[in-house]
Amino acid sequence: MGLTTPSASAPPAAASPGTGPGAPPTPDDPASLKVVPARHYARWVAAVAVIVLVAQFAHGLATNPVWEWGVFRDYVLSETIVHAVWVTLQLTAYATVLGFLLGTVLAFMRLSRSPVLQTVAWTYIWIFRSIPMIVQLVFWFNLSALYERLGFGIPFGPVFWSVDSNSIIGTMGAAVIGLTLHQAAYAAEIVRGGVIAVDHGQLEAAAALGIPRLRQIRRIVLPQAMRAILPTAGNEIIGLLKGTSVVYVMSIGELFYQVQVIYGRNGRVIPLLLVATAWYVVLTSLLSVAQYYVERRYARGANRTPPPTPLQRARRFVRTLRAAAAQRNQPVTPLKPLGDSR
């Protein structure tokens, strides 16, 4: 809509001879008119204002002595911190794997035809979504107060073998259990959402082919459910990674706890919080990249032509830039008629 020319008097360029490159512009031929792009003054002002603000903030980050970048540098790769990052990763990994395993079982319990299984799963999800994680963790931490000894035996009958509960569930164990149980409640709903998003015809086809029940779930339903599960699960795992910082209440040496211990000793609060922040950002970024590739893997077959990989996209971008540069070096390129360029 940039050019408004009476269309009756505007034949396409191909039809009018003498409008090739170098031909003198004729006033009634839109193909040879110069285009003046619209100017967005307000947009420019806004951009300048934002750039100034960002620059000011960056300058402050670099020069304000409060951030104490020297202290940050001393600690960010120190052995204590790296070990604490490792503990954080372990907690995240265990709770993710166990949480999603239990969550998947709960999801299929809720989807099962047995009212007993449905009710149990529903109740579990209801309870564990209702209790704040920190409350639950402290509960598990004090498990030995609840159940001094854990034993195996006949339900409501004699016990054959038992142990002191604190001796098998150390603090780390209690933390993993707490995070897992909490995670499972959310994972269950995510998995269930993914499963009910799979076309019912898929299950019918699998049943009609006589594919065994478990195999139907593993090979036909879950891979297709993954498309709906992954984006939410990615969110959930990143939330969990940061959520592990809650276990500092149990004095477990994960990232946030360790950082607190150090600044409790030396009083350098801000740079040490920066250390923790930097690590959480790095880990979250890695998870986001991983998520991208896992999603890609499960998108196989979903589209006629799969979307390009980042590498292909980068190559395409370079090619576009080159083409643009080559065009700029051309002498005069008359504009194509509007109808063609669309």
């Binding site: 076309d199 015809g201 898929q202 019918e204 086809a205 699998a206 049943a207 009609a208 082919l209 006589g210 594919i211 065994p212 029940r213 195999r215 090979r219 036909i220 891979p223 297709q224 499960y298 196989r300 077959g301 979903a302 589209n303 006629r304």
Partner: protein
């Protein structure tokens, strides 16, 4: 739970050369009685085409045959074996899901919407059931699958110079045309070497120019003596391929017989009314 009442004395499947037998089949969804006593016999190597207006219970009938729907009354047998039940003495025991799944491997089902597994390649679609349900070795299953792809390809080859399906073994279903997808779905059903093939409106979801290639494959199967029950609205196909045409309406078989009799000289008013609309 379904309320299953089966008259045990009647459960004596005719053996001879009857492949599929339905006896007094009733099926309701809640208060809606969809099948109201259907009797049907399909002989070995015969093609039975089921015609009938929308909502007359054709799909439901096909689905009861492979026990995707449980019947409320009556019984169904394939090759002399009761579907979904086991008879011992004067009792009928409902089969466990595992055994029902095993019975289904003898019954090929082709859906209107293909229902191919979109996340698996064409070859994996064909190999999945033989490997997991019949425990065939993967290598052998793949070889059979490639042979079947060639077969559903060749019969459709006459039409145009189409891209070979065998070359598409590693493609994903969504990269194929509708006609190709349905031919793959037929090959997938054949991969189990079923005793009988059921088709539920196999060409209804296809563009008109793709109908022919799918019907050609079904004709080819008919020529090689595969027992089939085909629900379709393609009267020309019924006339050419069917041994028996069954006209259904309101959950009962209104009339049945050779195509010439049912299509050209229908005895019932309802059949005549339906045919005058379709032809």
């Amino acid at each position: 739970m379904n309320d299953v009442t089966v008259a045990v004395e009647d459960t004596t499947p005719t053996v001879d050369d009857v492949m599929v037998e339905l006896h007094g089949v009733h099926k309701s969804f809640g208060p809606l009685e969809v099948l109201r006593g259907v009797d049907l016999q399909v002989h070995v190597g015969e093609v039975t085409v089921i015609l009938g207006p929308s909502g007359s219970g054709k799909s439901t009938l096909l689905r009861t045959i492979n026990h995707l729907e449980k019947v409320n009354r009556g019984w169904i047998s394939i090759d002399g074996e009761l579907i979904g039940y086991r008879r011992s003495g004067s009792k009928l025991h409902e089969l466990k899901e595992k055994d029902v799944l095993k019975q289904r491997t003898h019954i090929g089902f082709v859906f209107q919407n293909f229902n191919l597994f979109p996340h698996l390649t064409v070859l994996d679609n064909l190999v999945e059931a033989p490997v997991s349900a019949l425990r065939r070795p993967r290598k052998a299953a793949e070889e059979t699958a490639r042979g079947l792809l060639d077969r559903v390809e060749e019969t459709a080859r006459g039409l145009l110079d189409r891209v070979g399906l065998a070359d598409k073994a590693d493609a994903y279903p969504r990269q194929l045309s509708g006609g190709q997808q349905q031919r793959v779905a037929i090959a997938r059903a054949l991969a189990l070497e079923p005793k009988v093939l059921l088709f539920d409106e196999p060409t209804s979801a296809l563009d008109p120019e793709l109908v022919g290639e799918v019907l050609d494959v079904i004709k080819d199967l008919a020529g090689t003596g595969t027992t089939m029950i085909v629900v379709t609205h393609e009267i020309g196909f019924a006339r050419e391929v069917a041994d028996t045409v069954v006209f259904m309406d309101g959950g009962v078989v209104v009339e049945q017989g050779p195509p010439a009799a049912v299509l050209d000289d229908p005895q019932h008013e309802r059949t005549r009314a339906f045919l005058s609309k379709v032809l």
